[in-house]
Symmetry: C2
């Protein structure tokens, strides 16, 4: 995966947090995630597909997820429930929307977001995709954006489809 | 969401398990998932986007994930590690590929899969999307496929993109 693909995810994440929550977040050094997995409490996952396919994961610890939901809604939720799921799903959706707009050469669209809750889960990509992790520091604590992006030939896409469609 | 959208996910799941693992799995009654969340140990998540947007989640308990990986690779992995992540990611990918081929009117493509591990996590959709859960019974135990699908206007897609691109 090309290094220049990192920047759209960084700038989109920073602008979504600034615009939606009023948080100025600072970026740490991106790294390639391997088997030494960070664990998280809440993750928003959203896919991208078009001339490339990708996925974006926004992972937060419990406290950061609660603070982010409070910044969005004006009221702190008592627990990790529906309000937090909606808030984290919408943040992931907007980060994906901003990143795909900067990667317009791939004409990607976003999927529906899902939100994972559960203490100390990890989100991994299958081994064929490079998983870039970008740590950020916010006023409520650390958060992480992970993404993968694979440029695909039309041929590859059609082969997969044909193979499963036949059955 | 229309009831006729359920069948492509059912038939695709059954055919992928039959073809890839040699498992004949039986379907239970689909239901709309709400706040009473089932918990799982391993989940493969993959997005779909095009003229509709969606997401598919294949969730397995630890034992079923290990048995499925063994059926795929011929050897039982010692733990939930890279082999299980790859196997569950590929199963989710193939289920998505089969379902989108049957929903060709939406011209959807698949995103990159992600695989969530962590004891007793839940996968939720933000409240604007209906989350249909389809339980299946396999020779190794129960498993679940959850999906959502939203038909979208081009207008909605463009508005989201424009809003985030400006920042």
């Amino acid at each position: 995966m090309k290094v220049e693909y990192i920047n759209p995810f960084v700038t989109s994440t920073r602008s979504v947090f600034a615009t939606m929550l009023g948080w100025e977040i600072t970026r740490g050094a991106p790294f390639v995630k391997n088997s030494d997995q960070p664990h998280h409490d809440v993750s928003g996952v959203i896919g991208l597909s078009g001339k490339a396919k990708g996925t974006i994961v926004l992972s937060l610890d419990r406290e950061v997820a609660l603070a982010a939901t409070e910044a969005l809604l004006g009221e702190r939720p008592a627990e990790i429930g529906e309000e937090v799921v909606d808030a984290v799903g919408e943040l992931a959706n907007m980060i994906a929307g901003g990143a795909k707009a900067q990667l317009e050469q791939f004409a990607m669209r976003v999927s529906l977001p899902t939100v994972i809750t559960g203490k100390s889960h990890t989100v991994q990509f299958p081994s064929r995709a490079t998983q870039i992790a970008i740590p950020f520091e916010s006023e409520a604590g650390p958060l992480m954006v992970e993404f993968g992006l694979v440029e695909q030939s039309t041929e590859e896409s059609d082969t997969t489809e044909a193979a499963t469609a036949e059955r």
